[in-house]
């Protein structure tokens, strides 16, 4: 009997291809949309998490000005000096390493390609603190730092845009006012959520101060990067640094600090909540698509109720049992919903793989969301395919035949 119902159901599907197509389409869109959105949302979350861990653990940033944001110090707020960095290293317990940073956006030219690149002048310890790994070449040495050697280490984005994939080691690029030899290429850290970290050129601090930018306030540094010792109390260290810097800046107790200290945990929290919001938003959009898909399925099923009720009447009149008719409708609904669901999953996989590349997030296959999306859409398809049939199969054949 099951085989018979299956044979009849397959015939019915073949006979009503438009209806079958629309049903499949509803399930297909719903499944594809929700899987794609949730998968990409989770990929983005993962990417942000990975980047935060790339920033380095126990990392603290000291910046001029108040408030959290990646913006240059504005006028009137004093920058730091190298002495500030030295003092923090000497006087604050719990500090493992400290790197003064001077940053500037400078024009960068190699042959006939020019672009503006964020350039960082710092010391060699900066690479450790920020967990940069060399892909090629070498980092700069203490000698480079002392002499302000015309050398630089470049990020992957700069490599890609200026060198189009060719090895950059040994090449000379013009940065700001001077020409520097590329001695090292850094491994990519990725970009999602944090801006493109690979869009960077790192030079010895003295090189940036003496060669690349103008003379004015040339010994200022714009940021101090600090890594804490394993197991240090981040809040205590931040409090100590704050106190020290307030003293050095002669701030009175009624004045606000004109600098700020963050640790990566705070940054992680800020980014984490943003990503969370984004994922929730995507899930909401996906939920709407699923709903729309569900309504599509419902419509096409309900529109055909009249025709199908008459069909049920005919089948009953020529001797079909109610249960046989129901089984046929169930098989039809399940078959169409499953075809739509499988196609939807396939499309979602393709979309996710493609889009993940495009927006630089990892492609993370989530079994759970695939199963949920499939089951929900299939349930809608089956429910609305089966429920009207259930009602019709209970009628007297003559009432089903006369259904208007």
């Amino acid at each position: 009997m099951i085989w018979n119902a299956f044979a009849i159901a397959v015939r019915e599907i073949a006979r009503n291809l438009t209806r079958a197509f629309l049903t499949v389409l509803g399930v297909f869109i719903g499944v594809a949309a929700i899987i794609t959105m949730v998968t990409l949302g989770q990929g983005a979350t993962l990417a942000v998490k990975a980047q935060i861990s790339n920033l380095g653990s126990n990392l603290m940033l000291l910046r001029p000005g108040s408030g959290f944001g990646f913006r240059p110090a504005s006028g009137g707020v004093p920058n730091f000096s190298e002495q500030d960095a030295e003092l923090i290293g000497e006087q604050i317990a719990g500090v493992a390493a400290i790197a003064p940073v001077r940053s500037a956006a400078l024009s960068t030219i190699y042959r006939d390609t020019a672009r503006t690149t964020p350039v960082i002048g710092t010391t060699a310890v900066y690479f450790d603190i920020n967990k940069w790994v060399l892909a090629e070449g070498r980092l700069f040495t203490a000698a480079d730092l002392r002499s302000g050697g015309a050398v630089c280490v470049i990020g992957e984005t700069v490599h890609r845009e200026l060198f189009e994939g060719a090895s950059p080691i040994g090449a000379k690029i013009r940065i700001g006012k001077a020409s520097c030899e590329v001695i090292g290429l850094l491994k990519s850290k990725g970009s999602a959520g944090m801006g493109d970290q690979d869009d960077t050129i790192i030079v010895p601090l003295s090189t940036l101060q003496r060669r690349l930018v103008g003379k004015a306030s040339s010994h200022d540094i714009t940021q101090i990067v600090i890594s804490g010792k394993e197991g240090m109390d981040g809040e205590a260290v931040i409090a100590d640094i704050t106190l020290l810097m307030r003293q050095r800046r002669n701030l009175q107790s009624n004045q606000d600090s004109n600098f700020s200290v963050f640790d990566t945990r705070q940054i992680a929290e800020a980014l984490g909540s943003t990503t969370q919001l984004m994922t929730t938003l995507l899930a909401a959009v996906a939920g709407v698509s699923l709903l729309v898909g569900g309504i599509g399925i419902m419509n096409i099923m309900l529109v055909s109720v009249t025709e199908r009720t008459r069909e049920i009447g005919i089948r009953l009149a020529i001797g079909a049992l109610g249960s046989e008719v129901l089984l046929q409708f169930l098989v039809e609904a399940v078959t169409l919903s499953c075809i739509g669901g499988v196609l939807g999953i396939l499309l979602a996989l393709g979309l996710c793989a493609g889009l993940a590349q495009l927006i630089h997030v990892p492609f993370n296959f989530n079994v759970q969301i695939n199963v949920i999306a499939f089951l929900f859409s299939a349930a809608v398809g089956i429910l609305f395919g089966y429920a009207p049939a259930r009602r019709a199969a209970r009628l007297n054949p003559i009432d089903a035949l006369r259904h208007e």
Partner: protein, 234 residues
Amino acid sequence: MSAPLPAALIDVRGLTKTFGVGDGAFQALKGIDLTINRGEFVAIIGPSGSGKSTLMNVLGCLDVATTGTYAYQGIAVESLTNDGRSLLRRFALGFIFQGFNLLARTSALDNVELPLLYRGLPRKERRTKALAALTSVGLPTKLGSTPGELSGGQQQRVAIARAIVTEPSTLFADEPTGNLDSVTTRDVMALLTRLNGDRGITVLVVTHNDEVAACARRTVLIRDGLIESDVRRA
């Protein structure tokens, strides 16, 4: 059981059928007593709203009576379940409707095969029998045509083929020629007469067309839910 088959194929006593409840209730059949024997050709006639179609639907097990008894070949139909009536229709009854009631977008051959599918016949046997039935109604060439591609007369022939393919003992026809022109009407009635004569199929026709009623050897006139006259021709 080796009890002899009762002489009466259809035997109803005190049959009533009420539609609706309360003030809106309408009694379509008000107590019908009727016996039909194997091999008869009966026309049920009467004005519109007299209850003739309702009687036919109850006799054909497409509808259930409100009160009264109905024995088909000795089987107490009023005590059957929905499935029981389905099986009775599957194995003993055939139907022809005014509106043909063929499955849309389904070829003539598939429509005729449908009852055999529910009987669980293998594909080859289904095909052979459906072809034979379509040939016997004079439509051996339109096998692949869907109802939309056939004329009314052709559709009704397909419907007749579908009704007789299971070799039913009784054929119920509700205004079978209601949607057909007079020439086609004569063809269809000739076909029913032949099925009755050659194969011994009992035929019940509901009609208000005198020409159709004239084909029958017995005419039952229904008026206001009661049998007014029951005339047998020699």
